[in-house]
């Protein structure tokens, strides 16, 4: 195997995107994604069984296209990497079975990879001719999507990743979807609310910021039980109650203002807690990942608060922030280059794989 610049193929199927990406060392060669998002629209959220059925049908065509786009053959590939978790169990299973079959058919080593750590893996990819290659020191990662809301500390992407905080109920993107449905804005909720929020006044209504009371926060010296954690289920209830109050009074619901105030509550609490976690843990570089990285207000406020705190913010290109196979390949290549052994083909997908398990 080429240990300096290994050619790695990555497969992702943990939610509703079937992704296959190929990297050579830290260079991105292809990133092919097939999404079943359209099929979930009428349900207002990702339906696991529908996502799993779509993965099964998309996998081989996506694999074929990714190889063609990279201009490489399977024989040339040095290793295969696949998301083993966390994610939807039935969805993970499809990618894992395909990856194992690839390993059986080609004899290539297989790496079973943590999806959350893979989101950080894109940080090493050289995009648009810009050289990245290595991750910055004292790195943190803020991951925000329909499936997760986490702040991680990365001491070494191949052997030392720690979860500092996460949502204790809904993911931020899930809260966007639920509130968008409440406001009649359709699915996915993120882009719809972000667009409408620009025309609304976020200051007219104040929604609660979850887990910010002193009993949850504690102090830097004596942290409370949820100092860096988030909760969005109370916020969703507060928006529902607010809408009902307008309706009960017979007044039109100021949808744009509600959307703006909701977005402000989400983004405020995400960024304030993330920056707090960075400051108190010596993190000086923060990588933003996950689909909600597309949100204009989240990018803006994270940028402002990071620069005020002296933290360098990195936002990868959006197609590398959303779930994709290139991030899996990128992390796989890092593991190969670090000399970490493959996972074999007997591992089980793990829908709640902890970030401390970088590869199985």
């Amino acid at each position: 195997m080429n240990g300096n610049e290994p050619l790695v193929l990555g497969i992702e199927s943990s939610c509703d995107e079937t992704g296959v990406g190929i990297v050579r060392g830290t260079s991105l060669l292809s990133n092919t994604v097939s999404s079943s998002m359209e099929e979930h629209v009428r349900f207002g959220g990702v339906i696991p069984e529908i996502a799993s059925r779509a993965h099964l049908d998309a996998l081989v065509p996506t694999l074929q296209q990714s190889l063609a786009e990279a201009g490489v053959t399977l024989e040339e590939v040095d290793a295969v990497a696949v998301t083993a978790g966390p994610g939807l169990a039935g969805a993970l299973m499809v990618g894992v079975c395909a990856a194992k079959a690839l390993a059986v058919a080609t004899g290539k080593p297989l790496y079973a990879i943590n999806h959350l750590v893979a989101h950080v893996g894109v940080g090493v990819l050289e995009a648009d001719g810009e050289r990245a290659g290595v991750l910055p020191q004292n790195l943190g990662a803020l991951l925000v999507s329909g499936g997760h809301t986490e702040i991680l500390r990365i001491r070494s992407i191949t052997d030392d990743v720690e979860m500092l905080g996460s949502t204790i109920d809904d993911a931020a993107g899930e809260a966007y979807d639920k509130v968008a449905r409440l406001l009649g804005l359709g699915y996915p909720g993120g882009p719809a609310i972000d667009r409408l929020a620009r025309t609304g006044n976020a200051k007219l209504i104040r929604f609660p910021r979850g887990l910010t009371q002193p009993k949850y926060m504690g102090t830097a010296e004596e942290p409370g039980p949820h100092r860096y954690d988030w909760s969005f289920s109370g916020l969703k209830t507060a928006v529902a109650r607010c809408v009902e109050q307008f309706e009960a009074r017979g007044e039109p619901v100021p949808v744009a203002d509600v959307a703006a105030a909701f977005q402000e509550a989400v983004v405020d609490v995400i960024t304030s807690k993330a920056v707090l976690a960075c400051r108190e843990n010596g993190i000086t570089s923060l990588l933003l990942g996950g689909g909600v990285a597309a949100n204009s207000r989240l990018r803006q406020l994270t940028g402002e608060r990071c620069s005020a705190a002296g933290i360098t913010l990195h936002v990868p290109p959006l197609d590398l922030c959303t779930d994709n196979g290139a991030m899996v390949a990128a992390l796989g290549a890092q593991l190969v280059m670090a000399g970490i052994g493959p996972s074999g083909i007997a591992f089980a997908p793990d829908s709640s794989m902890p970030v401390t398990t970088i590869s199985a």
């Binding site: 349900f43 099964l56 996998l59 079959a101 390993a103 058919a105 009960a248 007997a346």
Partner: protein, 223 residues
């Protein structure tokens, strides 16, 4: 002709069958377990190939059971078969999984001229199909596959683990009351059909049930 057959509609199983080999069997394996396909299938296939001294280029076609069966397990086999067929550039065929039990019945002394094959569909239901059998012929599928309550299945001798689960509702044959579809019989059935000039369907899964997703109704107004 050498076929690699895979079925994960109930247990995980795979087989290498050939019209050149003694009894047609080059290698096979199956598990008892119906819930760990993603772990055991690839290592099982790998070991079976190694023990038989077979590599991808030796294989002429891949056959996968397309169900019916519990969805997540079923997809494990189909995803595996589709990927192997893609990498090795081999033709891929589907076989209805209950056919495996039907062939096993046909080859036994227990065979009835008309019978039911049933497997566990969970949620108190069975997957079932009705077959007829003529002397010296392959079993003929005449109805199904369906999913439903055991009580609604035609009153005929019934074979397979689905029949064994509901002995009050089905005329379960005791010798077959825990029998599951096995890739070995599926592969032999496919080989026999291809040898007879028959055609086999593609690898589209037979889910028989929609996903449980509910389209959310309109939100209740507070007024």
């Amino acid at each position: 002709m050498l076929i690699l057959a895979i079925d994960t509609s109930a247990v995980a199983s795979a087989a290498l069958v050939s019209d050149d080999a003694m009894e047609g069997v080059v290698g096979n394996f199956s598990t008892e377990d119906t819930r760990s396909h993603a772990e055991v299938l690839a290592p099982g296939i790998n070991r079976m190939l190694a023990e038989a001294g077979i590599t991808g280029p030796d294989i002429d076609a891949i056959v996968t059971g397309v169900g019916p069966g519990p969805f997540t397990g079923l997809r494990s086999g189909i995803a595996t078969a589709r990927t192997l067929a893609f990498v090795w550039q081999k033709p891929l065929y589907g076989m209805m999984s209950l056919d495996a039990v039907a062939l096993e019945v046909a080859e036994s002394t227990e065979a009835a001229p008309e019978f039911i094959v049933a497997t566990d569909a969970r949620r108190k239901e069975v997957y079932w199909a009705r077959y007829t059998l003529e002397e010296g012929q392959l079993p003929q599928l005449v109805d199904g596959p369906h999913v439903g309550f055991a009580a609604d299945v035609p009153d005929l001798p019934a074979y397979g683990a689905g029949a064994g689960l509901y002995p009050d509702a089905l005329r379960a044959n005791a010798d077959f009351s825990s029998e599951q579809p096995d890739a070995l019989y599926l592969g032999q059935f496919a080989l026999a059909r291809l040898a007879a000039g028959g055609e086999l369907p593609d690898s589209t899964p037979l889910y028989l049930r929609e996903s449980d997703a509910q389209v959310p109704g309109p939100r209740k107004r507070a007024l």
